[in-house]
Amino acid sequence: MIKSSEITQFLNQHKLDADAWEQILPIVYQQLKHLARKVKSNHHSGQTLNTTALVHDVYLKIKNNGQLNVAGSKHFYRLAAQAMRQILIDAARAKLTAKRQGQVVEWDDEFTITLMEKPGTTAVELVAIDEALNELKTVDEKLAHIVELHFFAGYGFAQIADILDVSESTVYRDWKKARAWLYVQLK
């Protein structure tokens, strides 16, 4: 088990193997959730949380523990996107469960993360997108990554290009392809 103080060292490795990835992901996931709660406690109630801002905060927090190198930053943003997807899907599933059972599932005693349902991002749609995305991953892993980074974590195309070391136009094209693929699966 990695301690959170060691996280920068792990992230800074040139290549992150699947094992390390799996160890770090839960930490980032926990930190994002933890932070969501803290952000909340500093704002008035009813305020929605922009996932990008959350990710940035966790980034700063990790960076404060030690220097993140270029590779480390990129690894982090990819991990955070994955974690963010997880948080959103958890919230979506919770909402669906609640609708079925008539209650909201809390993730700790005092706070609840609730999905704000809007056209295009309802709980039903999110869960469906998530499942289709798992399938896309087996067909074209790169496309699936881009969906995670852009749709779930809200990164801009330029930032994604930077994280994945490809051109911005490639990211833009791949996003269009991925969206079309998901559309075919879901409609």
Partner: protein, 883 residues
Amino acid sequence: MNQQLWQQAQNLFEQSLMLDEFLRSNYITSSTIGKPELRQLLETMMLAEKDESFMQTQPVVEVSENIADEQVQVFGHYSIIRKVAVGGMGRIYKAKSNTSDIDVFVALKLIRKELLSDQIALRFENEKAVLGKLSHHHIAALIDAGVVDEKPYIATEWIDGQAINEYVKDNELSINQLLNLFLQACEAVSYAHSQLVIHRDLKPANILVDSNKQVKLLDFGIAKLIENADGQVTQTQVFTPDYAAPEQINGLACTTATDIYALGVLLFELLVGEKRFGLNQLSVAEKIQAIAQPKTVFASQAMHLNQRSGAQKVKGALDTIINKAMHPDPVRRYSTVYELINDIKQFQQHRPINALGDSWVYRSQMFFKRNPWSSLMGLLLLVSLGVGQLYSDLQKQQAIQAQQLAQNEAEKSHQMLKFFMTILETASPLSGGSTQISVQQMFEDGAERFNLDAINDQAVKAEIAGQIAEIYGELSDHNLKIKYNEKALAYYQSDLQLHASKYLYHQLNIAHAYRDQDQYLLALELLTKAYEQVKNFKVSQSLLAEVMINFGQFYTQLGQTTEALNYLEQAEQLAQTINDVESLGKVKYYQYLILQYKLPAEESEQYLLQAQTYFEQAYSSTHPDLLNVRNSLGIKYKDQGQYRKASDLYTLLHTEYSQLYGVKNYDHLTNHANVRFALGDFEMAALLTKESLQVIEENKIEAGFSAMAATVVLARSLTELGRYAEAEKLWLKALSYFKSRFDDSHAVMLSLRTYWLDFLIKSGRIEDNLDDLNGLLELAQKQMNESYGTQRKYVNTLITLATYHWVHKNYQLGLNHLYTAQAIMQEISLKQGWVYWFIEAGIIKLNKNLELQTYASESTEPLAQLFMLLPAEHWYHNLFDTD
């Protein structure tokens, strides 16, 4: 869907995306003939393009509290009246104290338990003690704090008021009224800082205006109360992005500078009625970006855009004040709220502001130079400028226990005070010391008696050593400046990564000490080494820019201009990324110093004008850097023959310089004299040089070259005025000074020898100096071909030679020289001054003397112009009349 089908589909999809919608369907139809499955897939994919709702918005979550808002009626010894707000910290109630017969209303804050860490009880008690001591007319007093049923609470004075920004909006205030309100807030913050309390969360919601139009600040130091026990600041706890300083966004520690930044933001918002950087329109992520990469704000422009009145009044000084308070680098902000208050007051009284941290350095340096014996006064000045605040801090022993930061600060002020007390004792007549002790001596003795090594805390010791080093720097004691900087370095080099900026900063100071002793090579080597050591660590960008500028300066002095320009370019790039206008101004100025003789005048002038613009943004009108640029610009105008413009500039410069130093600058006076000389105003030129020499003498300044430069201009002026006896003494003095320092072919000597011959001709003492003159002519021609700016010297020599021939009635030879001079004057487009009109009039006159018909001009204008400029009894009257 199989892999192969998807591969085909995505290739076609990609192609068709690049086509117009109309061509698209044709393309899809034609490329999928006989493949219905592929066609259908592609058509569905195209539908995704048209569906604008599908996955186009990012999913958003909401975090909500689960706590039911149970109705509290009584809490401890308070009766709840009503709930006021539910905030991030907890809930706030208006409540009434039950312990008093009279109604005492309080704002009762119940703090969320989960915000408090384990050691909360202890910290809570400490903080309570510190906050309880805050007693100020503009601060809502802490009445009580404690824990009831494991629920921590804080009770503060109840203020019936309105948030300051709303108050300003509702009551159409004049700028002056608005500033008076703002000053009340500043005074409260200044007071709190003197008690070692930082607010950390200053924003309009925490600054109320009560019914008596008095400002009251709420929640002092409360943010601190809920901070992590280890003192580490976490992002989100103090995250009010709209008012946060860059260092808060970057997760660094809050200092008094953080409050000063927030005050700058507040002033901007009050004036403009809108948030800085247009934050209103931005998402949280964009806000973070905007604040972390700050740019210069111009409240006046924003006011103009918002159609608020008074923009014109705010433009300039208030813009400068706001930017100084909101400087991205905490070190470059006002170092105390007191300075901010002072500048606002200066502004209100239409006096020059000091929105520059280092002006007092120059002021005090000049003070010491002017008053070498009034040591005690000098010290008091220093104390009042920088250390006064520390004295009151020291009395707050309770605060020392409060927390680590305060402990450090208190220790620092304590040690600093001790240092100054030691010095004062040295200076005191009671200690048996002589009253005739110089400031320098006093510091040396004091510093020697003060036992720096007795300080246990190494960080504090390094800090104090750094401070002492700065004082020595101000006293121009280079050796001690180096010694104390090295003491500070001893600590910082123990962990280069952690202290990279501090390390580099002190090495830079040492390099400056060498620079100030003209040891540029040593300075360069030292700084290069230091830079190499820390370049892989995180160093403040503006410090890096400064280091690059220094490299540029050192290389310039060492004659390696290519290297110098290289570094200056790097500095420029760095400074541009952080919009550091001060550094940008320096870059432009140093580039000018290198390029002034390599580029044509109008091109190099651009560098100066840019430097001036940057400095005007960065500083008030009296910063030394800005004055230097203005002086160079004056010289530039003079060289371009724009004498009136140059003269006006110098008149302004004298005023600005006197405001800063209390005395005029001798070099500026000499330059001004040169300009008046060119205008034929020899009387004024003589007066200005005499003033210059007087300044040098009265201030006991060792200004060898400057004094001699002034002497030469005086001697020239007296020559033109026909006061030959006075002039001769000065010429002999100047000749002996320069001859011992420069060889005969040096540019300085060329001018001087020409002037000397000119004197001999005009005073009627010329004998057979023709060889001498011809030698000078060759030399002048050679130098002119080598660099810009020396053409004028050549013209001087030509005129002297022409005059010589004219006097000896060799008109043709004289005319030839005047024609050459005329050509040069045309080339450098110089059409002003008596020299110009002398050439023009001389050519006409000599043509007449030679009875040459080829020269058609009968114009009398040049002669009229010449005698309009020259004094009535000038020597040239004879020359033009007697032939």
